[in-house]
């Protein structure tokens, strides 16, 4: 008990001595300065630039001792910030690019499979066009076949050969060309 008490009181007195010394005497000024700088934070350098700018004219500014320091800081900060922001944008768009390329690769794999089915259906004659009555939206193969047959019929008429490279489904929510034309007709100002 006694030893513990004496150790604790010794520690307490050391602490008291430390804080007492800190709150008065030569260290007080240092601590105050550190604290005010910490509060002002980065305003120190901004304060310098504001001070220089408050001077009335260019020659007065030039003779200020911190002039060249501020000019240098502004230059370097400017270049660094511009590069930093553009570096963030580079990273972001590189990332976006790789993500989308992966998505596209998966889509292409599916399209390849669909194309293989179309290549088989291509030699079918023109009557295929009249065949399908109830069109199922999900039946891509039949639609592909219809499209390629129609193109083949057109190509026969023209005399040149067409190769289907890519078939993309248009956005379902978009209106067809016919309805767009209808809207245009009805809303055309007179």
């Amino acid at each position: 008990m006694n030893i513990a008490y004496s150790i604790l009181s010794a520690a307490a007195s050391v602490e008291a001595a430390a804080t007492a010394e800190a709150s008065s005497g030569p260290w007080k000024n240092v601590l105050d300065a550190v604290q005010s700088t910490a509060e002002a934070g980065s305003d120190q350098s901004a304060g310098v630039i504001d001070r220089i700018q408050a001077l009335p004219d260019a020659h007065a500014q030039l003779s200020d001792p911190d002039y060249w320091g501020s000019v240098g800081i502004i230059t370097i900060t400017g270049i660094l910030v511009v590069f930093f922001i553009l570096a963030i944008l580079i990273f972001l768009f590189w990332l976006m690019g790789t993500i989308f390329q992966n998505i596209d690769k998966n889509k292409k794999a599916k399209a390849e499979a669909a194309k293989a089915a179309v290549a088989k259906a291509a030699p079918a004659p023109a009557p295929v066009v009249e065949e399908v009555v109830e069109e199922e939206e999900d039946n891509d193969d039949e639609i592909m076949a219809v499209i390629s047959a129609a193109i083949a019929a057109y190509a026969e008429e023209e005399g040149t050969a067409y190769t289907i490279r890519d078939v993309k489904r248009r956005d379902k929510r978009a209106r067809s060309a016919w309805s767009l034309a209808g809207i245009g007709e009805n809303t055309r100002p007179f």
């Binding site: 901004a46 630039i49 220089i52 700018q53 004219d57 260019a58 020659h59 500014q61 030039l62 002039y67 060249w68 501020s70 000019v71 502004i74 230059t75 900060t77 400017g78 270049i79 910030v81 511009v82 590069f83 930093f84 922001i85 553009l86 570096a87 963030i88 944008l89 580079i90 990273f91 972001l92 768009f93 590189w94 976006m96 690019g97 989308f100 390329q101 596209d104």
Partner: protein, 424 residues
């Protein structure tokens, strides 16, 4: 008879010709002749006529004495200050303190201003340049940049011309020529290196409005001269082998990427440099409207009618700020010299980083596209294409050069934001 003589006398004394006879009236004559020179450059030589012609005409109108279209004293905070009242209740007394802010009395502008004063409000309040950026964004295709994000680096490097010129303008103070340039004026001159008219006008109207006329004239003249200024520097800094590099096909950019791009850029840039938000935000709004495909009529207006209206107002009012006492100084010649340095250094920085990327990529990137980081769209990209084709006729660099070109637009807006936040 006397009445007749008196009438003629009063007409004579209020006429513009009497204004020439007044103190420093001869300077107006010089400015009018200078505007004629700019007319020649705009009409005959076709130096950026869409802006040069209104600027020249604004310069003419403002320097005709007595026309009253533009009053320079209304736009100077020391001759037209605004006193903001502060109310403090002290017991039974209300204490009103008037603080002289470094701001303008817009009420007086509205009461006493002429036509060009009213239109100049759009410049002073920072309205016109962002709206021009709206139109530019609606005309720009950021596809080549998204396909090759490394182009952003070249766009950033070319802005080195801005900061080098800032140093140069401050260094000129040490030479003791004329009045010298304050930090704000130096920054406004430096932004000429961004090769972006609206950005330069935006920054200058905030930081150094007294230099607006000279900076605008310098900026647009040098933008017109890009095909003359850039090729020698590009050829000097690159070897023939480097110029011959053929770059691979750019990948296809999906619509989703093109829609996400403007939104992401706006958020990131505005959060880091809020002062660039109005320019970059409007640029990206225009682009988003175009890429989304759902605002066709807005895009049509933004790229045609709106751009044209704002260009007319911007040109004529910027020209109107070129009054004799602001323009006919040694500083104007220094600004013209510094503007040239800005363009040259910007081109050089872009090409040098292009060379570095050539080395680091193992010869896959042609350094010539680096000069396109100077954001004179699409002129700088066309120059890259032309110089590349001179060396290797089958080389098609245009789309590759568009990446740095449009990145430079964003880069110069960011640089302007940084300068505005530090010095504004």
């Amino acid at each position: 008879m006397e009445i007749f003589v008196d009438t003629i006398k009063s007409l004579a004394t209020t006429s513009g010709f009497a204004g020439f006879g007044a103190e420093n009236g001869w300077q107006s004559i010089i400015m009018i002749l200078l505007s004629f020179v700019l007319f020649y450059l705009a009409i005959k030589k076709q130096y950026e006529p869409l802006l040069m012609l209104p600027i020249a005409f604004g310069m003419l109108l403002t320097n005709l004495p007595g026309s009253g279209l533009y009053h320079a004293e209304l736009w100077n905070p020391s001759t037209n200050p605004y006193f903001a009242p502060e109310y403090v209740q002290e017991g039974a007394n209300l204490l009103i303190t008037y603080t002289k802010e470094v701001s303008l009395d817009y009420g007086r502008v509205l009461h006493e201003g002429g036509l060009l004063d009213m239109l100049y409000l759009g410049v002073k309040l920072g309205i016109y340049p962002p709206i021009i950026f709206l139109g530019i964004g609606a005309m720009t295709d950021f596809g080549p940049l998204i396909a090759n994000p490394k182009s952003f680096l070249l766009g950033a490097a070319a802005q080195g011309g801005i900061f080098f010129t800032f140093l140069g303008a401050c260094a000129i103070n040490a030479l003791g020529l004329g009045d010298g340039f304050s930090l704000k004026q130096a920054a406004s001159i430096a932004i000429i290196g961004g090769a972006d008219g609206p950005t330069a006008i935006f920054l200058t109207s905030r930081l150094a409005p007294e230099l607006l006329g000279s900076i605008a004239v310098a900026a647009y003249s040098y933008m017109a001269l890009v095909p003359v200024i850039q090729p020698p520097i590009m050829k000097l800094l690159t070897t023939k082998k480097e110029r011959e590099v053929k770059m691979g096909q750019l990948r296809q950019v999906s619509k989703l990427e093109k829609v996400v791009f403007p939104i992401a850029v706006t958020v990131i840039v505005s959060l880091i440099v809020p002062d660039a938000a109005s320019l970059v935000g409007m640029l990206m709004l225009g682009n988003l409207m175009k890429e989304s495909g759902v605002c066709e009529r807005l895009v049509k207006t933004a790229t045609n009618e709106l751009m044209n209206i704002i260009t007319i107002f911007l040109g004529v009012t910027v020209g109107a700020t070129a009054v004799a006492q602001n323009f006919l100084k040694v500083e104007t010649l220094l600004i013209i010299a510094l503007g040239l340095i800005a363009f040259c250094v910007g081109t050089a920085c872009g090409v040098l980083l292009g060379k570095l990327m050539y080395l680091l990529s193992g010869g896959k990137i042609n350094p010539l596209i680096g000069s396109a980081g100077v954001s004179a769209v699409p002129m700088a990209a066309r120059v890259s294409q032309k110089v590349g084709q001179e060396t290797n006729p089958s080389n098609f660099l245009l789309m590759h050069a568009m990446g740095p070109n449009v990145a430079g637009v964003i880069g110069s807006a960011v640089a302007a934001g940084v300068l505005l936040s530090v010095l504004g």
